[in-house]
Protein backbone atom coordinates (compact mmCIF):
# COMPACT_ATOMS: atom_id res chain seq x y z
CA UNK A 1 0.00 0.00 0.00
CA UNK A 2 1.58 3.24 -1.11
CA UNK A 3 0.95 6.06 1.28
CA UNK A 4 -0.13 9.23 -0.45
CA UNK A 5 1.51 12.42 0.65
CA UNK A 6 -0.19 15.75 0.60
CA UNK A 7 1.31 18.21 -1.79
CA UNK A 8 3.63 20.72 -0.23
CA UNK A 9 1.97 24.12 0.37
CA UNK A 10 3.81 26.23 -2.13
CA UNK A 11 4.74 29.80 -1.74
CA UNK A 12 2.44 31.62 -4.13
CA UNK A 13 3.89 32.34 -7.51
CA UNK A 14 4.57 36.01 -8.28
CA UNK A 15 1.15 37.31 -9.29
CA UNK A 16 0.53 39.03 -12.56
CA UNK A 17 0.54 42.86 -12.55
CA UNK A 18 -3.23 43.18 -13.06
CA UNK A 19 -3.87 41.12 -9.95
CA UNK A 20 -1.69 43.43 -7.87
CA UNK A 21 -3.48 46.47 -9.24
CA UNK A 22 -6.78 44.83 -8.38
CA UNK A 23 -5.65 44.39 -4.79
CA UNK A 24 -4.69 48.06 -4.47
CA UNK A 25 -8.08 48.91 -5.92
CA UNK A 26 -9.79 46.62 -3.46
CA UNK A 27 -7.87 48.24 -0.59
CA UNK A 28 -8.96 51.69 -1.77
CA UNK A 29 -12.52 50.44 -2.26
CA UNK A 30 -12.55 49.02 1.25
CA UNK A 31 -11.57 52.34 2.76
CA UNK A 32 -14.13 54.17 0.56
CA UNK A 33 -16.98 51.86 1.55
CA UNK A 34 -15.95 52.16 5.21
CA UNK A 35 -15.92 55.95 4.87
CA UNK A 36 -19.46 55.86 3.41
CA UNK A 37 -20.75 53.68 6.22
CA UNK A 38 -18.98 55.82 8.84
CA UNK A 39 -20.46 58.97 7.28
CA UNK A 40 -23.94 57.53 7.62
CA UNK A 41 -23.30 56.39 11.17
CA UNK A 42 -21.62 59.70 12.08
CA UNK A 43 -24.37 60.91 14.42
CA UNK A 44 -23.80 58.03 16.80
CA UNK A 45 -20.03 57.87 16.54
CA UNK A 46 -17.31 59.76 18.30
CA UNK A 47 -14.19 60.74 16.40
CA UNK A 48 -12.22 58.16 18.42
CA UNK A 49 -14.55 55.37 17.27
CA UNK A 50 -14.06 56.52 13.66
CA UNK A 51 -10.28 56.15 14.04
CA UNK A 52 -10.69 52.71 15.62
CA UNK A 53 -12.96 51.49 12.85
CA UNK A 54 -10.51 52.78 10.23
CA UNK A 55 -7.76 50.91 12.09
CA UNK A 56 -9.77 47.69 11.89
CA UNK A 57 -10.18 48.22 8.12
CA UNK A 58 -6.44 48.80 7.70
CA UNK A 59 -5.59 45.62 9.62
CA UNK A 60 -8.14 43.66 7.59
CA UNK A 61 -6.61 44.92 4.35
CA UNK A 62 -3.07 44.07 5.55
CA UNK A 63 -4.17 40.57 6.53
CA UNK A 64 -6.14 39.99 3.37
CA UNK A 65 -4.02 41.58 0.69
CA UNK A 66 -0.63 42.35 2.10
CA UNK A 67 1.67 44.96 3.51
CA UNK A 68 1.65 47.51 0.68
CA UNK A 69 -2.09 47.45 0.40
CA UNK A 70 -2.23 47.95 4.16
CA UNK A 71 0.03 51.00 3.93
CA UNK A 72 -2.08 52.40 1.10
CA UNK A 73 -5.23 51.80 3.14
CA UNK A 74 -3.74 53.57 6.18
CA UNK A 75 -2.76 56.60 4.00
CA UNK A 76 -6.24 56.75 2.49
CA UNK A 77 -7.92 56.33 5.86
CA UNK A 78 -5.75 59.16 7.19
CA UNK A 79 -6.89 61.46 4.36
CA UNK A 80 -10.57 60.43 4.59
CA UNK A 81 -10.63 60.87 8.35
CA UNK A 82 -9.13 64.32 7.93
CA UNK A 83 -11.46 65.34 5.06
CA UNK A 84 -14.79 63.89 6.17
CA UNK A 85 -14.72 63.75 9.92
CA UNK A 86 -12.28 66.34 11.26
CA UNK A 87 -13.70 69.78 11.70
CA UNK A 88 -13.71 71.70 9.58
CA UNK A 89 -15.17 68.90 7.38
CA UNK A 90 -14.73 68.75 3.61
CA UNK A 91 -11.33 70.42 3.91
CA UNK A 92 -7.91 69.08 4.63
CA UNK A 93 -7.49 71.89 7.13
CA UNK A 94 -7.24 70.94 10.73
CA UNK A 95 -8.58 73.38 13.27
CA UNK A 96 -7.01 72.09 16.43
CA UNK A 97 -3.25 71.52 16.48
CA UNK A 98 -3.68 68.51 18.82
CA UNK A 99 -5.83 66.88 16.11
CA UNK A 100 -2.83 67.02 13.77
CA UNK A 101 -0.95 64.97 16.32
CA UNK A 102 -3.86 62.51 16.63
CA UNK A 103 -4.02 62.01 12.87
CA UNK A 104 -0.26 61.53 12.56
CA UNK A 105 -0.34 59.03 15.43
CA UNK A 106 -3.22 57.26 13.68
CA UNK A 107 -1.20 57.07 10.44
CA UNK A 108 1.82 55.78 12.33
CA UNK A 109 -0.16 53.12 14.24
CA UNK A 110 -2.08 52.02 11.14
CA UNK A 111 1.12 51.62 9.10
CA UNK A 112 2.96 49.84 11.91
CA UNK A 113 0.03 47.50 12.57
CA UNK A 114 -0.31 46.52 8.95
CA UNK A 115 3.44 45.83 8.82
CA UNK A 116 3.31 43.70 11.95
CA UNK A 117 0.29 41.76 10.82
CA UNK A 118 1.72 41.10 7.37
CA UNK A 119 5.10 39.93 8.67
CA UNK A 120 3.48 37.74 11.33
CA UNK A 121 1.41 36.10 8.68
CA UNK A 122 4.43 35.50 6.48
CA UNK A 123 6.34 33.95 9.35
CA UNK A 124 3.47 31.65 10.24
CA UNK A 125 3.32 30.55 6.62
CA UNK A 126 7.04 29.89 6.56
CA UNK A 127 6.86 27.90 9.77
CA UNK A 128 4.00 25.78 8.47
CA UNK A 129 5.87 25.16 5.29
CA UNK A 130 9.14 24.22 6.88
CA UNK A 131 7.34 21.90 9.26
CA UNK A 132 5.73 20.23 6.30
CA UNK A 133 9.07 19.97 4.51
CA UNK A 134 10.55 18.22 7.54
CA UNK A 135 7.59 15.86 7.76
CA UNK A 136 7.85 15.08 4.06
CA UNK A 137 11.57 14.37 4.29
CA UNK A 138 10.98 12.14 7.28
CA UNK A 139 8.25 10.20 5.49
CA UNK A 140 10.43 9.79 2.43
CA UNK A 141 13.33 8.49 4.46
CA UNK A 142 10.97 6.13 6.27
CA UNK A 143 9.77 4.80 2.95
CA UNK A 144 13.32 4.27 1.80
CA UNK A 145 14.31 2.51 5.00
CA UNK A 146 11.21 0.36 5.10
CA UNK A 147 11.39 -0.98 1.59
CA UNK A 148 14.17 -3.45 0.97
CA UNK A 149 13.21 -4.39 -2.52
CA UNK A 150 14.80 -1.82 -4.78
CA UNK A 151 12.22 -1.97 -7.57
CA UNK A 152 9.25 -1.45 -5.26
CA UNK A 153 11.17 1.18 -3.35
CA UNK A 154 11.73 3.17 -6.52
CA UNK A 155 8.10 2.76 -7.48
CA UNK A 156 6.87 4.00 -4.14
CA UNK A 157 9.30 6.87 -4.04
CA UNK A 158 8.54 8.15 -7.54
CA UNK A 159 4.83 8.24 -6.79
CA UNK A 160 5.47 10.14 -3.58
CA UNK A 161 7.88 12.64 -5.08
CA UNK A 162 5.47 13.26 -7.91
CA UNK A 163 2.76 14.14 -5.42
CA UNK A 164 4.91 16.12 -3.03
CA UNK A 165 6.52 18.29 -5.65
CA UNK A 166 3.50 18.58 -7.98
CA UNK A 167 5.52 17.13 -10.82
CA UNK A 168 4.10 16.34 -14.20
CA UNK A 169 6.23 13.22 -14.39
CA UNK A 170 9.34 11.68 -12.93
CA UNK A 171 11.73 8.95 -14.00
CA UNK A 172 14.47 7.22 -12.03
CA UNK A 173 16.82 5.18 -14.11
CA UNK A 174 19.57 3.10 -12.54
CA UNK A 175 22.27 1.49 -14.58
CA UNK A 176 23.78 -0.84 -12.13
CA UNK A 177 27.31 -2.14 -12.28
CA UNK A 178 26.74 -4.52 -9.36
CA UNK A 179 24.44 -6.98 -11.04
CA UNK A 180 21.00 -5.58 -10.22
CA UNK A 181 20.33 -4.91 -13.85
CA UNK A 182 18.78 -1.80 -15.25
CA UNK A 183 15.89 -0.50 -13.22
CA UNK A 184 13.70 2.24 -14.61
CA UNK A 185 10.75 3.52 -12.68
CA UNK A 186 8.33 6.02 -14.01
CA UNK A 187 5.45 7.87 -12.51
CA UNK A 188 3.30 10.77 -13.55
CA UNK A 189 0.87 11.77 -16.21
CA UNK A 190 3.12 11.67 -19.26
CA UNK A 191 6.00 9.35 -19.98
CA UNK A 192 9.39 10.99 -19.83
CA UNK A 193 12.26 10.06 -22.10
CA UNK A 194 15.55 9.60 -20.32
CA UNK A 195 17.39 11.86 -22.74
CA UNK A 196 14.81 14.61 -22.46
CA UNK A 197 16.56 17.99 -22.51
CA UNK A 198 13.57 20.34 -22.17
CA UNK A 199 14.07 23.40 -20.04
CA UNK A 200 11.32 22.35 -17.63
CA UNK A 201 13.04 19.04 -16.96
CA UNK A 202 15.36 18.88 -13.96
CA UNK A 203 18.07 16.23 -14.27
CA UNK A 204 20.03 15.00 -11.28
CA UNK A 205 22.80 12.42 -11.62
CA UNK A 206 22.77 9.57 -9.09
CA UNK A 207 26.14 8.35 -7.86
CA UNK A 208 27.49 5.64 -5.61
CA UNK A 209 30.91 6.64 -4.39
CA UNK A 210 32.58 7.89 -7.53
CA UNK A 211 30.52 5.78 -9.91
CA UNK A 212 27.58 7.18 -11.76
CA UNK A 213 24.68 4.80 -11.23
CA UNK A 214 21.88 6.56 -13.02
CA UNK A 215 19.71 9.61 -13.34
CA UNK A 216 16.73 11.22 -11.73
CA UNK A 217 14.61 13.28 -14.12
CA UNK A 218 11.73 15.44 -13.03
CA UNK A 219 9.41 17.27 -15.38
CA UNK A 220 7.66 20.33 -14.03
CA UNK A 221 4.20 21.19 -15.31
CA UNK A 222 4.23 23.90 -18.00
CA UNK A 223 4.33 27.41 -16.55
CA UNK A 224 5.42 26.31 -13.08
CA UNK A 225 8.27 28.30 -11.55
CA UNK A 226 11.55 26.44 -10.87
CA UNK A 227 12.13 24.69 -7.54
CA UNK A 228 12.59 26.98 -4.59
CA UNK A 229 15.03 26.44 -1.75
CA UNK A 230 12.87 23.99 0.25
CA UNK A 231 11.95 21.98 -2.79
CA UNK A 232 15.61 21.73 -3.72
CA UNK A 233 16.33 20.60 -0.18
CA UNK A 234 13.71 17.89 -0.48
CA UNK A 235 15.02 16.75 -3.82
CA UNK A 236 18.61 16.66 -2.65
CA UNK A 237 17.89 14.94 0.64
CA UNK A 238 15.82 12.45 -1.23
CA UNK A 239 18.58 11.86 -3.73
CA UNK A 240 21.10 11.23 -0.94
CA UNK A 241 18.78 8.72 0.68
CA UNK A 242 18.07 7.06 -2.62
CA UNK A 243 21.76 6.71 -3.37
CA UNK A 244 22.30 5.06 -0.03
CA UNK A 245 19.36 2.74 -0.62
CA UNK A 246 20.76 1.74 -4.01
CA UNK A 247 24.20 1.17 -2.55
CA UNK A 248 22.66 -0.90 0.20
CA UNK A 249 20.72 -2.98 -2.33
CA UNK A 250 23.86 -3.51 -4.37
CA UNK A 251 25.85 -4.56 -1.34
CA UNK A 252 23.10 -6.96 -0.37
CA UNK A 253 23.10 -8.41 -3.85
CA UNK A 254 26.86 -8.88 -3.76
CA UNK A 255 26.64 -10.47 -0.33
CA UNK A 256 23.97 -12.87 -1.60
CA UNK A 257 26.08 -13.76 -4.62
CA UNK A 258 29.08 -14.45 -2.42
CA UNK A 259 26.95 -16.53 -0.07
CA UNK A 260 25.50 -18.51 -2.97
CA UNK A 261 28.99 -19.18 -4.32
CA UNK A 262 30.19 -20.19 -0.90
CA UNK A 263 27.25 -22.51 -0.38
CA UNK A 264 27.57 -23.98 -3.84
CA UNK A 265 31.18 -24.70 -3.05
CA UNK A 266 30.41 -26.32 0.26
CA UNK A 267 27.54 -28.22 -1.41
CA UNK A 268 29.91 -29.61 -4.00
CA UNK A 269 32.28 -30.64 -1.27
CA UNK A 270 29.47 -32.26 0.72
CA UNK A 271 28.21 -33.99 -2.40
CA UNK A 272 31.68 -35.27 -3.24
CA UNK A 273 32.26 -36.70 0.20
CA UNK A 274 28.74 -38.19 0.27
CA UNK A 275 29.30 -39.78 -3.15
CA UNK A 276 32.68 -41.06 -2.03
CA UNK A 277 31.11 -42.60 1.06
CA UNK A 278 28.19 -44.08 -0.86
CA UNK A 279 30.49 -45.65 -3.43
CA UNK A 280 32.98 -46.91 -0.89
CA UNK A 281 30.40 -48.85 1.14
CA UNK A 282 29.43 -51.30 -1.65
CA UNK A 283 33.04 -51.35 -2.86
CA UNK A 284 34.13 -52.47 0.57
CA UNK A 285 31.70 -55.40 0.48
CA UNK A 286 32.79 -56.34 -3.02
CA UNK A 287 36.44 -56.28 -2.09
CA UNK A 288 35.86 -58.16 1.16
CA UNK A 289 33.78 -60.82 -0.66
CA UNK A 290 36.27 -61.20 -3.50
CA UNK A 291 39.25 -61.43 -1.16
CA UNK A 292 37.36 -63.95 0.97
CA UNK A 293 36.87 -66.16 -2.07
CA UNK A 294 40.53 -65.76 -2.97
CA UNK A 295 41.65 -66.71 0.53
CA UNK A 296 43.15 -70.20 0.13
CA UNK A 297 43.44 -70.75 3.88
CA UNK A 298 39.71 -71.18 4.26
CA UNK A 299 37.65 -73.93 2.76
CA UNK A 300 34.38 -72.25 1.94
CA UNK A 301 31.11 -74.12 1.90
CA UNK A 302 28.93 -73.77 -1.17
CA UNK A 303 26.50 -71.64 0.80
CA UNK A 304 29.31 -69.27 1.83
CA UNK A 305 30.59 -69.04 -1.72
CA UNK A 306 27.20 -68.20 -3.13
CA UNK A 307 26.70 -65.60 -0.38
CA UNK A 308 29.98 -63.92 -1.36
CA UNK A 309 29.16 -64.03 -5.06
CA UNK A 310 25.65 -62.73 -4.38
CA UNK A 311 27.12 -59.87 -2.38
CA UNK A 312 29.46 -59.00 -5.25
CA UNK A 313 26.60 -58.95 -7.78
CA UNK A 314 24.21 -57.09 -5.49
CA UNK A 315 26.73 -54.44 -4.51
CA UNK A 316 27.79 -53.98 -8.12
CA UNK A 317 24.13 -53.29 -8.92
CA UNK A 318 24.06 -50.86 -6.04
CA UNK A 319 27.08 -48.99 -7.36
CA UNK A 320 25.48 -48.94 -10.77
CA UNK A 321 22.31 -47.38 -9.41
CA UNK A 322 24.38 -44.78 -7.56
CA UNK A 323 26.17 -43.88 -10.76
CA UNK A 324 22.84 -43.70 -12.64
CA UNK A 325 21.54 -41.38 -9.94
CA UNK A 326 24.52 -39.09 -10.31
CA UNK A 327 24.21 -39.00 -14.08
CA UNK A 328 20.46 -38.41 -13.95
CA UNK A 329 20.91 -35.69 -11.42
CA UNK A 330 23.34 -33.95 -13.77
CA UNK A 331 20.91 -34.41 -16.67
CA UNK A 332 18.02 -33.03 -14.64
CA UNK A 333 20.13 -30.07 -13.59
CA UNK A 334 20.94 -29.29 -17.19
CA UNK A 335 17.31 -29.83 -18.17
CA UNK A 336 18.14 -32.50 -20.70
CA UNK A 337 16.40 -35.47 -19.21
CA UNK A 338 14.38 -36.93 -22.07
CA UNK A 339 12.61 -40.17 -21.28
CA UNK A 340 12.46 -42.76 -24.06
CA UNK A 341 8.86 -43.71 -23.53
CA UNK A 342 7.41 -47.02 -24.58
CA UNK A 343 4.29 -48.82 -23.41
CA UNK A 344 5.13 -50.99 -20.41
CA UNK A 345 3.47 -52.70 -17.51
CA UNK A 346 4.12 -50.96 -14.21
CA UNK A 347 3.66 -54.22 -12.28
CA UNK A 348 6.55 -55.76 -14.27
CA UNK A 349 8.78 -52.85 -13.36
CA UNK A 350 7.85 -53.10 -9.66
CA UNK A 351 8.51 -56.84 -9.72
CA UNK A 352 11.95 -56.37 -11.30
CA UNK A 353 12.92 -53.79 -8.71
CA UNK A 354 11.71 -55.95 -5.82
CA UNK A 355 13.64 -58.93 -7.14
CA UNK A 356 16.82 -56.94 -7.38
CA UNK A 357 16.41 -55.34 -3.98
CA UNK A 358 15.51 -58.57 -2.15
CA UNK A 359 18.93 -59.00 -0.52
CA UNK A 360 18.79 -55.44 0.78
CA UNK A 361 15.17 -55.62 1.96
CA UNK A 362 16.24 -58.01 4.70
CA UNK A 363 14.03 -57.69 7.72
CA UNK A 364 11.42 -55.48 6.06
CA UNK A 365 8.24 -57.45 5.29
CA UNK A 366 6.91 -56.31 1.93
CA UNK A 367 3.21 -55.76 1.43
CA UNK A 368 2.31 -55.25 -2.20
CA UNK A 369 -1.15 -54.32 -3.45
CA UNK A 370 -1.07 -54.05 -7.20
CA UNK A 371 -4.42 -53.75 -8.96
CA UNK A 372 -4.77 -56.54 -11.50
CA UNK A 373 -4.96 -55.69 -15.21
CA UNK A 374 -3.47 -52.24 -14.94
CA UNK A 375 -3.18 -50.76 -18.44
CA UNK A 376 0.26 -50.36 -20.02
CA UNK A 377 1.60 -46.87 -19.73
CA UNK A 378 4.14 -44.92 -21.74
CA UNK A 379 7.33 -44.74 -19.71
CA UNK A 380 11.07 -44.99 -19.80
CA UNK A 381 11.49 -48.35 -18.05
CA UNK A 382 15.03 -47.65 -16.88
CA UNK A 383 14.04 -44.34 -15.34
CA UNK A 384 10.83 -45.52 -13.67
CA UNK A 385 12.82 -48.48 -12.33
CA UNK A 386 15.14 -45.91 -10.81
CA UNK A 387 12.26 -43.97 -9.29
CA UNK A 388 10.86 -47.05 -7.55
CA UNK A 389 14.34 -48.20 -6.52
CA UNK A 390 15.10 -44.80 -4.98
CA UNK A 391 11.81 -44.73 -3.06
CA UNK A 392 12.32 -48.25 -1.73
CA UNK A 393 15.96 -47.64 -0.83
CA UNK A 394 14.87 -44.55 1.02
CA UNK A 395 12.30 -46.54 2.97
CA UNK A 396 14.91 -49.17 3.83
CA UNK A 397 17.44 -46.56 4.83
CA UNK A 398 15.24 -44.45 7.06
CA UNK A 399 13.16 -47.06 8.88
CA UNK A 400 14.12 -49.51 11.62
CA UNK A 401 14.72 -53.11 10.52
CA UNK A 402 11.64 -55.29 10.75
CA UNK A 403 9.08 -52.60 9.95
CA UNK A 404 6.88 -53.35 6.94
CA UNK A 405 7.11 -51.49 3.65
CA UNK A 406 3.98 -51.14 1.51
CA UNK A 407 3.82 -50.80 -2.25
CA UNK A 408 0.57 -50.06 -4.01
CA UNK A 409 -0.28 -49.40 -7.64
CA UNK A 410 -3.74 -48.45 -8.83
CA UNK A 411 -5.48 -46.61 -11.57
CA UNK A 412 -6.68 -43.16 -10.61
CA UNK A 413 -8.56 -41.31 -13.33
CA UNK A 414 -6.37 -41.14 -16.42
CA UNK A 415 -3.20 -41.91 -14.51
CA UNK A 416 -1.64 -44.72 -12.55
CA UNK A 417 -0.68 -43.96 -8.99
CA UNK A 418 2.18 -45.77 -7.28
CA UNK A 419 2.64 -45.49 -3.52
CA UNK A 420 5.58 -46.50 -1.37
CA UNK A 421 4.81 -46.28 2.32
CA UNK A 422 6.75 -47.23 5.41
CA UNK A 423 6.08 -47.52 9.11
CA UNK A 424 9.17 -45.70 10.26
CA UNK A 425 9.46 -42.44 12.16
CA UNK A 426 7.98 -40.38 9.31
CA UNK A 427 9.27 -37.02 8.16
CA UNK A 428 9.30 -34.00 10.47
CA UNK A 429 6.57 -31.71 9.09
CA UNK A 430 8.96 -28.79 8.59
CA UNK A 431 10.99 -30.90 6.15
CA UNK A 432 8.06 -32.08 4.01
CA UNK A 433 8.07 -29.18 1.59
CA UNK A 434 11.81 -29.43 0.90
CA UNK A 435 12.13 -33.18 0.75
CA UNK A 436 12.25 -33.28 -3.06
CA UNK A 437 14.89 -30.54 -3.28
CA UNK A 438 18.29 -31.41 -4.54
CA UNK A 439 20.87 -32.17 -1.81
CA UNK A 440 18.19 -31.91 0.84
CA UNK A 441 18.56 -34.42 3.62
CA UNK A 442 16.72 -34.78 6.87
CA UNK A 443 19.63 -34.73 9.24
CA UNK A 444 19.31 -36.15 12.72
CA UNK A 445 22.08 -34.53 14.68
CA UNK A 446 25.57 -35.88 14.14
CA UNK A 447 24.66 -39.45 13.34
CA UNK A 448 22.26 -40.98 10.88
CA UNK A 449 22.13 -42.40 7.43
CA UNK A 450 24.34 -40.50 5.08
CA UNK A 451 23.55 -39.90 1.48
CA UNK A 452 23.93 -37.54 -1.38
CA UNK A 453 20.47 -36.03 -0.99
CA UNK A 454 19.93 -36.67 -4.68
CA UNK A 455 17.54 -39.63 -4.66
CA UNK A 456 14.23 -37.84 -4.16
CA UNK A 457 15.14 -34.91 -6.41
CA UNK A 458 15.77 -37.46 -9.15
CA UNK A 459 12.43 -39.13 -8.43
CA UNK A 460 10.74 -35.78 -8.87
CA UNK A 461 12.71 -34.90 -12.00
CA UNK A 462 11.95 -38.20 -13.71
CA UNK A 463 8.28 -38.28 -12.74
CA UNK A 464 7.74 -34.72 -13.91
CA UNK A 465 9.54 -35.44 -17.15
CA UNK A 466 6.92 -38.17 -17.61
CA UNK A 467 4.13 -35.64 -17.02
CA UNK A 468 3.34 -37.04 -13.59
CA UNK A 469 3.42 -35.64 -10.08
CA UNK A 470 5.17 -36.61 -6.87
CA UNK A 471 3.72 -36.29 -3.40
CA UNK A 472 4.84 -36.93 0.12
CA UNK A 473 2.90 -37.10 3.35
CA UNK A 474 3.08 -38.66 6.77
CA UNK A 475 0.75 -41.57 7.32
CA UNK A 476 -1.82 -41.30 10.06
CA UNK A 477 -0.56 -44.41 11.79
CA UNK A 478 3.06 -43.24 11.54
CA UNK A 479 5.61 -43.49 8.77
CA UNK A 480 6.07 -41.68 5.50
CA UNK A 481 4.20 -42.17 2.24
CA UNK A 482 5.65 -41.21 -1.11
CA UNK A 483 3.53 -41.44 -4.19
CA UNK A 484 3.77 -40.55 -7.84
CA UNK A 485 1.48 -40.63 -10.82
CA UNK A 486 2.16 -41.57 -14.41
CA UNK A 487 -0.37 -40.44 -17.01
CA UNK A 488 -1.91 -43.09 -19.24
CA UNK A 489 -1.56 -40.82 -22.26
CA UNK A 490 1.52 -38.91 -23.25
CA UNK A 491 0.66 -35.30 -22.66
CA UNK A 492 2.40 -32.37 -24.29
CA UNK A 493 3.46 -31.18 -20.91
CA UNK A 494 5.89 -34.03 -20.51
CA UNK A 495 7.82 -32.94 -23.59
CA UNK A 496 8.61 -29.59 -22.14
CA UNK A 497 11.77 -29.22 -20.16
CA UNK A 498 10.09 -26.74 -17.81
CA UNK A 499 8.83 -29.52 -15.62
CA UNK A 500 12.30 -30.68 -14.84
CA UNK A 501 13.91 -27.29 -14.83
CA UNK A 502 12.21 -26.53 -11.55
CA UNK A 503 14.39 -29.13 -9.94
CA UNK A 504 17.32 -26.84 -10.61
CA UNK A 505 16.07 -24.37 -8.07
CA UNK A 506 18.01 -26.47 -5.65
CA UNK A 507 17.56 -25.33 -2.15
CA UNK A 508 20.42 -25.28 0.21
CA UNK A 509 20.33 -27.69 3.10
CA UNK A 510 19.82 -25.92 6.34
Amino acid sequence: MVKQFAALPFRPDPRPAWYNRLRYLAAALGVTVATGVLWLAQPVLSLGSVYLIYLVIVVAVAVGWGLRQGVLASGLAFLCANYFFHPPVFTFDIAQPQDVLALVIFLGIATLTSQLVASLQREAQEARRSQQVTATLYELSQTINRQHNLASLLQEVTVQLCNVLNLESIIISIVDPGGLGRVTTHSGSSPLAENNADTNVVRLPLTAGVHSIGNLLMKLPAGRRPFDLEERRIVEAFRDQLQMAIERAQLQQTAIQIEVLRRTDSLRLALLSAVAHDLRTPLTSIKASATSLLNMKINWSEEDESAFLGAIVGEADHINSLVSNLLDSARIEEGRLSPHKELHSISDVIETVLERLTPRLKGHPLQTEIEPDLPFIPMDVVEIDEVITNLLENAIKYTPPGTPIHIRAKQQGDAIKIEVADEGPGIPPQHLQYIFDRFYRVAKGGAGPTGTGLGLSIVKGIVEAHGGEVQVSNRLGGGAMFSFTLPLQTSNRSEQPTAVERVNGASVPS
Partner: protein
Protein backbone atom coordinates in the same frame (compact mmCIF):
# COMPACT_ATOMS: atom_id res chain seq x y z
CA UNK B 1 32.95 -74.10 22.39
CA UNK B 2 33.70 -71.73 25.23
CA UNK B 3 37.38 -71.72 24.29
CA UNK B 4 36.65 -69.88 21.04
CA UNK B 5 37.63 -66.22 21.30
CA UNK B 6 34.62 -63.96 21.14
CA UNK B 7 34.55 -61.12 18.60
CA UNK B 8 31.80 -58.50 18.42
CA UNK B 9 31.33 -56.96 14.96
CA UNK B 10 29.64 -53.55 15.02
CA UNK B 11 28.96 -52.46 11.45
CA UNK B 12 25.83 -50.88 9.96
CA UNK B 13 26.23 -52.25 6.46
CA UNK B 14 24.51 -55.68 6.61
CA UNK B 15 26.38 -57.06 3.65
CA UNK B 16 29.85 -56.20 4.94
CA UNK B 17 29.01 -57.29 8.46
CA UNK B 18 27.90 -60.72 7.32
CA UNK B 19 31.01 -61.13 5.13
CA UNK B 20 33.25 -60.28 8.07
CA UNK B 21 31.28 -62.62 10.33
CA UNK B 22 31.56 -65.54 7.88
CA UNK B 23 35.30 -65.04 7.67
CA UNK B 24 35.77 -64.83 11.41
CA UNK B 25 33.63 -67.92 12.02
CA UNK B 26 35.57 -69.83 9.38
CA UNK B 27 38.77 -68.73 11.11
CA UNK B 28 37.66 -70.17 14.45
CA UNK B 29 36.08 -67.22 16.27
CA UNK B 30 32.78 -66.96 18.05
CA UNK B 31 31.05 -63.97 16.46
CA UNK B 32 28.21 -61.70 17.54
CA UNK B 33 26.96 -58.99 15.22
CA UNK B 34 25.46 -55.60 15.90
CA UNK B 35 24.09 -53.27 13.23
CA UNK B 36 24.18 -50.19 15.41
CA UNK B 37 25.21 -48.75 18.71
CA UNK B 38 22.15 -49.80 20.71
CA UNK B 39 22.40 -53.39 19.47
CA UNK B 40 26.06 -53.39 20.43
CA UNK B 41 25.19 -52.15 23.94
CA UNK B 42 22.59 -54.92 24.24
CA UNK B 43 25.00 -57.67 23.24
CA UNK B 44 27.84 -56.70 25.51
CA UNK B 45 26.54 -58.81 28.43
CA UNK B 46 29.35 -61.18 27.66
CA UNK B 47 32.53 -59.16 27.38
CA UNK B 48 34.11 -59.75 23.97
CA UNK B 49 37.79 -60.51 23.51
CA UNK B 50 37.85 -58.12 20.60
CA UNK B 51 35.56 -55.64 18.94
CA UNK B 52 35.53 -54.66 15.28
CA UNK B 53 33.90 -51.25 15.19
CA UNK B 54 32.69 -49.10 12.33
CA UNK B 55 33.10 -45.58 13.62
CA UNK B 56 30.18 -44.11 11.59
CA UNK B 57 27.06 -45.67 13.06
CA UNK B 58 23.53 -44.55 12.27
CA UNK B 59 22.60 -43.98 15.89
CA UNK B 60 25.86 -42.91 17.50
CA UNK B 61 28.94 -40.87 17.02
CA UNK B 62 32.47 -41.87 17.88
CA UNK B 63 32.02 -39.89 21.07
CA UNK B 64 29.10 -42.03 22.25
CA UNK B 65 31.12 -45.14 21.55
CA UNK B 66 34.12 -43.73 23.39
CA UNK B 67 31.99 -42.89 26.41
CA UNK B 68 30.51 -46.37 26.39
CA UNK B 69 33.93 -48.00 26.13
CA UNK B 70 35.24 -45.90 29.00
CA UNK B 71 32.60 -47.55 31.22
CA UNK B 72 34.37 -50.93 31.03
CA UNK B 73 36.60 -51.88 33.88
CA UNK B 74 39.20 -53.48 31.67
CA UNK B 75 39.58 -52.25 28.12
CA UNK B 76 38.31 -54.29 25.18
CA UNK B 77 40.77 -54.27 22.30
CA UNK B 78 39.22 -52.58 19.29
CA UNK B 79 39.89 -52.56 15.59
CA UNK B 80 38.29 -49.51 14.00
CA UNK B 81 37.13 -49.74 10.41
CA UNK B 82 35.94 -46.67 8.55
CA UNK B 83 35.34 -45.34 5.06
CA UNK B 84 36.31 -41.85 6.10
CA UNK B 85 39.42 -40.71 7.87
CA UNK B 86 38.23 -40.46 11.47
CA UNK B 87 38.67 -37.47 13.67
CA UNK B 88 42.05 -37.96 15.42
CA UNK B 89 40.49 -36.75 18.68
CA UNK B 90 37.85 -39.47 18.53
CA UNK B 91 40.50 -42.07 17.78
CA UNK B 92 42.49 -40.82 20.74
CA UNK B 93 39.52 -41.45 23.02
CA UNK B 94 38.78 -44.90 21.64
CA UNK B 95 42.46 -45.89 21.54
CA UNK B 96 42.01 -48.67 18.98
CA UNK B 97 44.59 -51.39 18.56
CA UNK B 98 44.41 -50.78 14.84
CA UNK B 99 42.66 -48.70 12.23
CA UNK B 100 41.67 -50.19 8.89
CA UNK B 101 40.44 -47.97 6.06
CA UNK B 102 37.62 -49.21 3.82
CA UNK B 103 37.78 -50.87 1.37
CA UNK B 104 40.18 -53.51 2.68
CA UNK B 105 41.18 -57.02 1.71
CA UNK B 106 39.68 -59.48 4.17
CA UNK B 107 43.13 -61.00 4.98
CA UNK B 108 44.24 -57.62 6.32
CA UNK B 109 41.43 -57.70 8.84
CA UNK B 110 41.90 -61.37 9.67
CA UNK B 111 45.62 -60.80 10.24
CA UNK B 112 44.92 -57.89 12.60
CA UNK B 113 42.39 -59.96 14.52
CA UNK B 114 44.81 -62.87 14.67
CA UNK B 115 47.53 -60.55 15.96
CA UNK B 116 45.50 -59.34 18.92
CA UNK B 117 43.35 -62.38 19.66
CA UNK B 118 44.89 -65.53 18.23
CA UNK B 119 42.34 -68.17 17.38
CA UNK B 120 42.96 -71.68 18.60
Amino acid sequence: MAQQPFVLVVEDDDQLRSIIARNLKASGYFVLQAANFSEAVDRIDIKPNLMILDINLPDATGWDVAKWLASFTSPVPIIVISGATPDPKQLEHIEPKAFLAKPFAIEELLELVQQHVPSK
